[in-house]
């Protein structure tokens, strides 16, 4: 799994609330048996016209947005379908962190497993971040996972919370499946008791 330690990047703002995973990656792109190429179809129906040409009005298509790795998203980001193709597409495109006031549960889990850091901030901070980007589209944030902080351009630090386990896994690139495979004795003991 992908490691995450620190990240310094400018921001792509996407204020829409309740962005569902069908928007992040439409279902017709799920007919794949691997994870490759999904980034090209990230937000496909907002990003491209019917003929496949990029829509100038969509934020990802603005020239200055290219290469940015932090997505500043509206409330309840990633709701709907459980498709892990959503974080695969976000990571495939180049995002490493998403900041919002809340994330749908399954999306949050899926993101953590792919080195995509979901950062929850309170409503005021969220508003401030959008204002900052509006005033200066080149606002740069510095994320430090070990310290659990986002540093704003004026040096102010916003703390965010993340559970200890997810943090350790991200910092060290721990393979969660390997971790549970190592618990084989406990799993076998559980099965013996419950299947008697």
């Amino acid at each position: 799994m992908n490691q995450f330690t620190t990240l310094t990047s400018k921001i792509v703002p996407l204020p829409n609330e309740n962005v569902d995973t069908d928007q992040i990656i439409p279902a017709r792109f799920l007919k794949v048996t691997d994870k490759k190429g999904l980034g090209d179809n990230l937000f496909a129906d907002w990003r491209y016209d019917a003929d496949g040409s990029p829509r100038a009005d969509f934020v990802l298509n603005r020239p200055e947005m290219q290469g940015r790795q932090i997505l500043l998203a509206g409330d309840n980001f990633g709701c709907g379908s459980s498709r892990e193709h959503a974080p695969w597409a976000l990571v495939g495109y180049g995002f490493r962190a998403v900041i919002s006031t809340s994330f749908a549960d399954i999306f949050r889990n899926n993101s953590l497993k792919n080195g995509l850091l979901p950062i929850v901030v309170d409503k005021d901070t969220h508003q401030q971040l959008f204002s900052l980007v509006q005033e200066d589209p080149n606002t740069t944030l510095a994320i430090d996972l070990a310290a659990q902080t986002v540093t704003l351009p004026d040096g102010r630090r916003v703390a965010f919370s993340i559970d200890h386990f997810s943090k350790t896994c991200l910092l060290n690139g721990v393979d969660e499946i390997g971790y549970v495979l190592n618990l084989r004795d406990k799993i076998e003991a559980f099965e013996r008791i419950h299947e008697g």
Binding site: N16, G80, S82, R83, I177, V180, L181, L183
Partner: protein
């Protein structure tokens, strides 16, 4: 200590729990489908390991499967490849597959066949790489959707790392009025409390209105828990549950049944058990519901009017509403009744079971689908299809001018070629009205099977109460 249904199931499945870490939760039943599993099986190959418990793992093909006659080839190359990959994976790893070639008479939408086969049982932990796994909670099972990495973990270990969610009681009382269904209850709940209300929580639906519902109606409610933000929705098992289960293929038989029954009867939440939060709804006050927007929370009573962004104080809610109305090409304050439609879709894991089809048929019997409308009826499984045909429902649909299709997810997710054209309006019994969900540029009004059937006849959004006695 009094415990909730959720706590009883959770506590009985914790294999290990380190401080500051998620619990290692044992999974009793793992359901698999073709779209969210290929990368997980690949992961096993890379690790050189087998499926730990193939006897607890069952697969079907539903999302990409055509609903045209089964003897026709699958024209979509990518879908065909994904389906072939599932067949290969199940054969290689010893997983039972209810598939096109292995069990065409029992295949269907994963959340329809699990209960139908008796795989879904009270007190179980059930997962599937699909958010509507919440459906199985209708049996008092803790059932939730997972991502593909988690599918791989469950295949490999039969366990899942889970943070313990909070509980939210959803108390629903009152007696449903004529023409109002379980679908209207859940649409009304989400309209009232929003699509994020259940985030971080497991719903437990309680109250007199829930007790009166059949198993299929309870599945409709639990199915859309995820649309209210809750990963799982539970309903305590009772005699309705046990009657439904008795005699099903995988249900326990003989003395094992009696033993199971005694255990299942201990599952309901104890008197005085505490929930972290409570929501309430009066089912008696509801009229049929219909959505007007681009998330399932944007719903109104069918005689209501589309809300006005100008009257929405919160800025981001106002923007979301304006954007939704622009996509749907609807005007603030307009009624939805009489809004012309192009397609009616009756199907999906929300409303494709036999009682749903009976409701739709009760409206369509002796009537005609309006010529401007394409109406599709897609049963949830091959067994539902046979049952409907045995009851003559297929003839009612066909005589009315509706299409009677093979089982699958179909236009619920529009991956298999069944889809709306850009700009088309559909009344759909499915669960998601997201932009493009039923086809790029398509516009969805979610509603009950009764409302969908009435709308098919009218050629426009219609109130089913005008057509039923």
């Amino acid at each position: 200590m009094s415990q909730t249904l959720f706590e009883k199931i959770w506590n009985a499945h914790v294999v290990a729990q380190e401080p500051d870490s998620p619990a290692v939760l044992y999974i009793d039943l793992h359901l698999v489908h073709e779209v969210t599993s290929p990368q997980a099986f690949d992961g096993l190959r890379t690790r050189g390991i087998r499926v730990r418990r193939p006897d607890r793992t069952f697969a079907t093909m539903d999302h990409g499967i055509p609903t045209t006659p089964r003897d026709l080839p699958i024209l979509d190359e990518l879908a065909a490849k994904q389906i072939a990959q599932l067949e290969k994976n199940c054969a290689e790893f010893g997983v039972t597959l209810y598939g096109l070639h292995s069990a065409p008479d029992k295949m269907g939408i994963v959340h329809v066949i699990g209960p139908e086969l008796g795989l879904t049982q009270p007190g179980m932990t059930i997962v599937c790489g699909d958010s509507h796994t919440s459906t199985h909670g209708a049996f008092g099972a803790l059932a939730f959707g997972i991502g593909t990495s988690e599918v791989e973990m469950v295949l490999a270990t039969q366990c899942l790392l889970q943070r313990k969610p909070k509980t939210m009681q959803v108390q629903i009382d009152g007696v449903l009025q004529k023409g109002v269904t379980a679908k209207d209850i859940i649409l009304a709940l989400i309209a009232r409390y929003g699509v994020g209300a259940g985030t971080g929580h497991v719903f437990e639906y309680t109250g007199a209105a829930i007790r009166r519902l059949s198993m299929e109606e309870r599945m409709t409610i639990c199915n859309m828990s995820i649309e209210g933000g809750a990963r799982a929705g539970l309903i305590a098992p009772d005699d309705t549950t046990f009657e439904y289960m008795a005699g099903r293929e995988y249900a326990p038989k003989g003395p094992a049944w009696d033993k199971a029954l005694a255990r299942w009867r201990t599952l309901p939440s104890d008197p005085g058990a505490r929930y972290d939060a409570t929501l309430t709804l009066d089912a008696g006050a509801l009229e049929p519901m219909v959505t007007f927007g681009t998330n399932p929370g944007m719903g109104i009573g069918i005689t209501g009017r589309v809300p006005d962004p100008a009257k929405t104080p919160d800025l981001s809610a106002r923007n979301a509403l304006s954007k939704a109305l622009a996509y749907m090409d609807l005007k603030p304050n307009q009624p939805l009744l009489g809004q012309p439609i192009d397609v009616v879709f009756i199907g999906s894991c929300t409303n494709s079971r036999i009682t749903d089809l009976r409701l739709a048929a009760s409206v369509l019997k002796g009537r005609k689908v309006n010529p401007r409308v394409r109406a599709m009826v897609v049963p949830g499984s091959a067994q539902v299809k046979r049952q409907a045909e045995a009851e003559g429902l297929d003839r009612i649909f066909k005589e009315a001018g509706a299409e009677w299709r093979e089982a699958g997810c179909s236009m619920c997710i529009a991956m298999n070629g069944d889809q709306l054209a850009p700009g088309q309006y559909a009344v759909s019994t499915s669960n998601r009205n997201f932009e493009g969900r039923q086809g790029k540029g398509g516009r969805t009004f979610l509603a009950s099977p009764l409302t969908a059937a009435a709308s098919a006849v009218a050629g426009a959004v219609a109130d089913p109460r005008t057509l039923i006695q």
